[in-house]
């Protein structure tokens, strides 16, 4: 088997691979990998992919090569900063543009990245995640109380997962009380980037007056420049919230489609941490991660990448790579699912992953405890949904559940 797929499936030997990229397939669902991506993975570790700007780069579908790429400093994130040109929500003032340039940890490498990441890392350690647990449990129980009032099917995504995720986000970031009601409309609902920046500025100004034990207060206490603080504040207020909500909803869908696992986990709550790894393996929001760009001509494994070429890691495929996981298509909460890329890998690996694990475990467990007979009525994510723009992520969709009144 070749390691690199021919760019043209008919295999024209002398054609330049860079001229024939394939389009990212849209035939997958959250819990069922795109058959096209699975076929590409069988064929090779990497496949030529057509990018939106017209150039042909690569998509990596095997777990081992994916990890090598995410760890390799010869790739950069700096050339594809968001927002992309032409994004209608990206009409922002000049200060905000500068803040995006200097304050985005995912969009910078090396020392700049390290300095930004270290400003926020303290509040996301394992110890910190455990310290939030009691408050997270309170937030979850309040939301259980809220949906318990419903009669008939409830959309778990909008009535449970999203509000829990937003409230935990506000808790950890330290969104001031007087702004917390405005958080969800701006960061969860339809909004503009400018409104998000305005919110971030107001939150930082309030934290300057009344600092607390939270991420935003750490930013105003740090030696970061005002633009760095503002850019970083925008990132931490935005990132991770929808992924956690998605994982809560999607984990419940997976469990209710495998009733015996729902029942087993309900009887074995001590096995929840291992189950959460499996939720993240199969339920990660990302079809592909944010692409990386080669800073030089390079060879990694058997893949040759030219300067300026983009490479995307297909998390959905790498998390179901039989070279890494036995029987990878099977959802199995008893498996050892570590080694998945659901939280990424390399220097940009999810900083909030320990908090995410805590929230997901609490939110799923609370449903099992309260309604062991919970039933899945329907979930939009069982059918292909359009990707979210500009990175290929799965939409969560409605997840309708019901229980005996």
């Amino acid at each position: 088997m070749k390691d690199i797929a021919p760019s043209d499936p008919r295999g024209a030997a002398n054609e330049c691979p860079a001229l024939h990229g394939r389009a990212l397939p849209t035939d997958g669902t959250q819990l069922r990998l795109s058959p096209t991506l699975a076929a590409w993975r069988d064929e090779a570790a990497a496949t030529p992919l057509q990018y939106a700007d017209g150039h042909v780069g690569w998509i990596v579908t095997r777990n081992e090569l994916a990890k090598e790429i995410l760890l390799d400093p010869r790739f950069t994130r700096e050339t594809t900063r968001l927002p992309m040109p032409g994004d209608p929500h990206a009409d922002i003032d000049a200060d905000a543009q500068e803040s995006i340039r200097v304050g985005g940890p995912l969009d910078n490498d090396g020392d700049v990245h390290a300095r930004l990441r270290r400003a926020i890392a303290p509040r996301f350690s394992l110890k910190a995640a455990r310290s939030y647990r009691a408050k997270i449990a309170e937030i979850v129980q309040a939301q259980i109380g809220s949906i318990a009032k419903h009669v008939g099917p409830v959309d778990l995504t909008s009535a449970y997962a999203a509000p829990i995720s937003a409230q935990v986000h506000c808790l950890v970031m330290g969104v001031p009380d007087r702004l917390s009601a405005a958080y969800s409309p701006i960061f969860v609902g339809e909004s503009t980037l400018q409104r998000k920046f305005d919110f971030a500025r107001e939150a930082l100004a309030l934290k300057q007056q009344e600092p607390g034990d939270d991420v935003l207060s750490d930013l105003v206490r740090s030696d970061l420049s005002p633009h760095e603080q503002e850019g970083l504040a925008l990132v931490v207020l935005s990132a991770g919230r929808d992924s956690v909500a998605h994982l809560i909803s999607t984990s419940v869908v997976a469990l209710l489609l495998h009733r015996e696992q729902w029942d087993w986990l309900g009887a074995n709550p001590d096995r929840m941490p291992a189950a959460v790894e499996e939720f993240v393996r199969v339920g990660s929001l990302f079809v592909t991660l944010f692409s990386r760009t080669a800073k030089e001509d390079l060879t990694i494994g058997s893949l040759e990448v030219q300067t300026g070429q983009s490479v995307s890691v297909a998390v959905a495929a790498a998390n179901r790579d039989e070279r890494q996981f036995d029987n990878p298509e099977q959802f199995d909460v008893t498996r050892d699912a570590f080694g998945h890329l659901g939280f990424g890998h390399g220097i940009h690996a999810c900083v909030g992953q320990q908090v995410a694990r805590t929230v997901i475990a609490e939110a799923v467990w609370a449903l099992m405890e309260r309604w062991p007979g919970l039933r899945l009525v329907d979930a939009e994510q069982l059918r292909p949904l359009p990707f979210a723009h500009p990175v290929a992520t799965h939409a969560t969709g409605q997840v309708l559940v019901e229980w005996e009144q």
């Binding site: 394992l126 110890k127 080694g339 690996a349 992953q353």
Partner: protein, 65 residues
């Protein structure tokens, strides 16, 4: 020869994987950065230490032996 561990605190990105899977050998300081609790842990720790090294997203844990 027993396993010896080196941690690279400047490479560490504070993801907490080592503390999660091998909490008796690794923890995070107040800045979230790795702290090695045991440089040469006993054989019973070996598999969890190897797991921590392989899961570290920044490859900040080096094992010898």
């Amino acid at each position: 020869m027993s396993l010896s561990i080196l941690v690279n605190t400047s490479a560490c990105v504070g993801a907490g994987q080592c503390a999660l899977v091998a909490g008796e050998v690794f923890e995070q300081d107040d800045d979230g950065i790795v702290v090695l609790l045991e440089e040469s842990p006993g054989g019973s720790q070996e598999s969890s230490v190897r797991r921590a090294a392989s899961l570290c997203p920044a490859r900040a844990i080096e094992l010898r032996g």
